[in-house]
Chain length 135, copies 2
Amino acid sequence: MNTSANEIFPKGNKAPAEYFTGTAWVRPLVSPDSGLNCVIGNVIFEPGTRNNWHTHTGGQILIATAGTGYYQEKGKPIQLLEKGDVVTIPADVVHWHGASPDSEFTHLAINPNTQEGVVSWLQPVTDEEYNSYNK
Amino acid sequence: MNTSANEIFPKGNKAPAEYFTGTAWVRPLVSPDSGLNCVIGNVIFEPGTRNNWHTHTGGQILIATAGTGYYQEKGKPIQLLEKGDVVTIPADVVHWHGASPDSEFTHLAINPNTQEGVVSWLQPVTDEEYNSYNK
């Protein structure tokens, strides 16, 4: 197991480069064929890494478990995420998430209502967008 | 915050005594009115504590995050749970979960498909049932 003391899960598989800027690791925990209409994965983002803008037809819940990360909904400021923070993302809201520039970041990604679809990927988050966080 | 180094969430509220043997603490993370048909809570069981036998109409997912716990489905042996273990519980399967006798135990409890119902509580787990774990 490649698990640091603060991590619950090992790193898993490298996230697909076409949907991420930087390097992230995805460990599947509950698969699409579970029969529960719910797909869950643990994601570890290296510092500076983020996923593309995207939407979930069935919504999504993020549970931050280690490090410091970013979450942004289209048209709103970036929100800082730390261990214990929970984000509830309504269906079809355009958003992205990832690590802050100087910290690895880990979250559980819980996708309910997968009978309605899982994810629609959009354009990458630009450096300007990523660097817009106001402390 | 009443959070030990290994915990992600503080203890939350005492679980209802009528559905638990022993003391457990529930911190709600995603509420029934989220619009996502998904209710999530973090549960900390004191050593020896377990919930009653019960079912979920929409199924349930447990993610063990600290300590050592037990999970049992009706008619099957008790299964040991440790940090990083994930249990996928199909709809309507009679089961219970809790701490092992000598360790606190923490899990995330994820209830998807809550439009179909959340939980139906049954009888308490007897000491004989609880003590049936075979190492």
